[in-house]
């Protein structure tokens, strides 16, 4: 098993653009999720008391409750964003269980992209909820001297989001690879189950943290919050 940290090996080159395994796996995850979502949405309309419809409704309710609790209010845009993040990360953890498939979230580029989405979503949500002036002024509160610290907070939590997801997924892959190379049969199964559990847990945690950051951006200037 080759371990790439900052780079990703290119399978083939389309002109100047490399085609990497991460791009393929993340596209596969996205396509599968969109297809599943389309099927579930159709089931909700066609057979509202079937199993697929019940699963879809409970998933939507789960995301709605999670956003309500962590972001502090209901917001359809945040719910869609959070649901997309959670389903994509959980789906890639599930896809990574297939033999010799490297999950897209075990690549630093993919997790950095997800963290960058969260990084951009916070000011977008804050400006939409509070207006440009009020949102930007919270960087100068309680004191303009603290402006660099606000910047460091935003950057470090984004880097932490990316590295946490990347490290967890990659460490699961490495552990399974080492055990498979040592024993190979039956023994890796509990560790693969643990890897899957950690993948789902990381999807949950990434979503909760993203919602908390966006919620803090939305609630700028409310009752003593800075």
């Amino acid at each position: 098993m080759r371990i790439n940290i900052f780079t990703d090996e290119a399978l083939l080159w389309l002109g100047p653009f490399p085609l990497t395994p991460t791009m393929i796996t993340s596209t596969v995850v996205s396509v599968l999720l969109v297809a599943a979502g389309w099927l579930v949405a159709r089931a909700v309309v066609k057979r509202p008391d079937g199993r697929a419809a019940a699963a879809g409704r409970s998933a939507v309710r789960f995301i709605q409750d999670l956003v309500q609790v962590t972001a502090g209010r209901r917001s359809e845009a945040v719910e869609v964003f959070a649901g997309t993040l959670m389903l994509f990360i959980a789906g890639s953890a599930l896809l990574g269980q297939l033999p010799s498939v490297h999950p897209p979230t075990a690549t630093l580029g993919a997790t950095a992209a997800l963290a960058a989405l969260v990084f951009l979503a916070v000011p977008v949500a804050g400006i939409r909820a509070r207006g440009l002036r009020l949102y930007l002024s919270h960087y100068l509160k309680p004191n303009p001297v603290l402006f660099p610290l606000h910047m460091i907070t935003e950057l470090s939590r984004t880097v932490a989001l990316a590295l946490r997801l990347f490290g967890n997924m990659l460490s699961g892959q490495i552990v399974v690879a080492v055990i498979v190379s040592l024993v190979g049969l039956v023994v890796p199964i509990p560790l693969m189950a643990l890897d899957l559990l950690i993948g789902f847990l990381q999807a949950y945690i990434f979503t909760i943290l993203a919602c908390a950051y966006i919620g803090a951006g939305i609630q700028v200037g409310e009752t003593g919050r800075t």
């Binding site: 940290i5 900052f6 609790v69 590295l163 990659l170």
Partner: protein, 86 residues
């Protein structure tokens, strides 16, 4: 021993030290979170959903320090900038 060997040796030792110390810190933190979470669950079983949720978030936050150590160890071993893309 030329310079590359010394750098490689130092990187391996540094990776081991980073991972050992990082794991100890995260283990102590997670043990305290687990004990506190079980204590809270025993006192207030009705609050178990919110206790469990916050406990998982706290566990992930603490674990991320160990994960940072892991990433640094992996960079030292597999993508060391000093040994020219080893």
């Amino acid at each position: 021993m030329d310079a590359t060997t010394v750098l490689a040796l130092g990187s391996i030792i540094a990776a081991a030290v980073v991972m050992a110390i990082g794991a100890v810190g995260a283990a102590i933190g997670e043990a305290r979170i687990g004990a506190a979470g079980l204590d809270a669950l025993a006192r207030q079983p009705d609050e178990s959903p919110s206790i469990t949720r916050n406990q998982f978030v706290a566990l992930a936050m603490v674990e991320s320090t160990a994960i940072f150590c892991l990433v640094i160890a992996l960079v030292l071993l597999f993508a060391n900038p000093l040994i020219g893309g080893a």
